[in-house]
Amino acid sequence: MTLLGFLVLIAVAAIRLRDLFAVVMLFGVYSLLTAALFMNLDAVDVAFTEAAVGAGVSTVLMLSGLHLTSRWEQRPKRSPLLPLLVVGVTGAVLVHAMLDAPFVGDPQAPVQTHVTPYYIANAPVEVGMPNMVTAVLASYRGYDTFGETVVIFTAGLAVMLLLGIQQGTHNRPGLNAIGDQLVLRSVVKLLVPAILLYALYVQFHGDFGAGGGFQAGVIFATGFVLYDLAFGEGDARTVVPPGWLHRLAALGVLIYGGVGVYALLAGKPFLDYSALSADPVAGQHLGVLLVELGVGITVFAVILTIFYAFSGRGRRA
């Protein structure tokens, strides 16, 4: 309840404020609180994603977007009455809907009694991994996750269509948004290897604990974003040239889809990982590993694409 109350306060504050920098910061706090809320509901994987994407990288992306425009929002010309009415009615319907909804944590709720028991009983046997969430996301509902990966790819494609790709590298160390900061540079130098290593851990440990390709891709990209911010645009771009990112993003989707097509050619349904090995459970393991890799590559490439597209534009102007 306290968390929800804070969420409402932050939402109202974000609407009232005209300083967009503060609004972006509030969005970050909002996401962090949401992540805490998910934690409270025992949805560790979702909380992890929300913290990495919502509180982490999207704040940076919004700030770099803000960097291209003005910090202060103009007063809206139209009256806010109609939007207020729409929001009011929507809110009323949502509250009305809750009247007959099962309580949070009710063991007799339909969500707990219909498909979930099957996953709990069979995921360890059929897919053979301790993290059931990963089993559901990557295997039972792996096609949805494939679709989500394509959604991320589409988002990157949209940014590339609109802003173009910043070709080549301009090796201008020191030319960055925050200037020459000695302490920051030292801290970043220490942090970046740890961040990249942690991303790899999250990537490959998703079968056992919270994590997987989405979170790992975001964290990996964060390492590069941080380095770029502290050391200027040259070096990070030498390691991963912007001209290659869209190919990398496409490659990730093709890895995921390729696993599906392989199963298809082996005479099994699309994305049936048991086609990958003589032992179905080993096949599931390999399949999940490969598709998570595809997800990680696409997410990493798309987030870095968006960041480069924004930051590259700002400095050129």
């Binding site: 949502l94 394509v150 989707v253 889809g257 699309f270």
Partner: protein, 494 residues
Amino acid sequence: MTLFEHLPVLVVIIPLLAAPLCVLLDRPVLAWLAALLASWATFAATIGLVAQTASGETISYYLGGWAPPWGIEYRIDTLAAYVLLIVSGIAAVVMLAARTSVAKEIPADRAARFYAALMLAMAGLMGIVATGDAFNVFVFLEISSLSTYALISMGRDRRALYAAFQYLVMGTIGATFILIGIGFLYMMTGTLNMADLAARLPAVSNAATISAAFAFLTVGIGLKLALFPLHLWLPNAYAYAPSMVSVFLAATATKVAVYLMLRFVFTVFGHEFSLEQMALHYVLLPLAVVAILSASLVAVFQQDLKRMLAYSSVAQIGYILLGLALMSPEGVTAALLHVFNHALMKGALFMALAAVMWRVGSVQLTDLAGLGRYMPWTLGAFVIGALSLIGVPLTAGFVSKWYLVTAAIDAGWWWLIPVIAVGSLLAVIYVWRVVEVVWFRPPNPALVDQREAPLSLLGPTWALALANLYFGIHADLTTGTAETAVASLLGGLR
């Protein structure tokens, strides 16, 4: 499993995987070739599905090999195959014309990615239709929506950016509402599979949560199908998008939203809940009538021909919803026929405008005076499409209007006939304005050196125009399929 058994998933993953391939190829011509091949392969696969479901069979395909409701199921019945055919058929024709039009309207360094986005939009729409899983609908809705926003923003006019942004805001609200609706359904039933939902919903249908889910889904899908008054995004989006995007969207996007509404209203909730408990038809009927009359009237005053056709689309969606609101098998059949026929007419009309845009660089009515002398074939096809839009006998448009009028009479709603008549009359007026200007006005001096459009644009335009005549004469092809689809969709209704 043979390749034939994989058709349900192939029609979605062929365009879906063509998209990253287009990005990797990175050259306009190669990307276009990949997209062309993918769209025709998909079209061929869809014909296979239509043949398999022609007499009312349902094909089920387990993705990942997991049985529903634990895994995701693709479920193709006659209705789904029929809508898949519209989407893939239009995409295949659009791709034929795309190379010429895109080379002129899209910068060469972005053309490959443009084709990729077009493939994603197609795959998204196909995925929405093919799936039997409510959450999977949302995932593919996101794919098609995001790529559509990007495609619209590629219009040459700066206003395309604002149009895309407007659609992004409205579309995202729609998608969020749909997600909330699906979330409520899951909360009350514990399942996401549509067939399983249909089986488990009656037990909880009195809960406020289910009514709210129905309301959220209706409004969300209403935003996507440009249900009056939620259509405000549509005119600008169609008017400022690149020509090929306008053709593809006008012929397919709202049709898929209509399909989604049918799926939720009849398959998931069932007509007893949707009609008797929620009385959806009393909401749809007045909105459909207002849409037909007001949007047709606004179309009469448009100078930009793409905008005119866009308003006409809002009115045509009104006819489709009118058929739905009659809530009889005849009415829904009329709606389905109009979904198909409207795709053909708007495809032909927007394709003709794409050819005009290619030659003249404008579709403002004032710039086109006397153009009929220079581009008689293009504008001839435009006239055929327009006649079909009005509903002249021997065109496809006549068939669906005829069914609609008959269904209205059967339902005893005589007062709908003047509404349909006035709508058609307004269509005559806005079409006649164009005919008068391009054929009977003295030529605009700026047009003197114009010639006919190249064959790559003229061919697809005429293919669609002739389809309007073909399905107007051989109406039994579409009516038969529509009746089979309705029979399996409505089941118990009367």
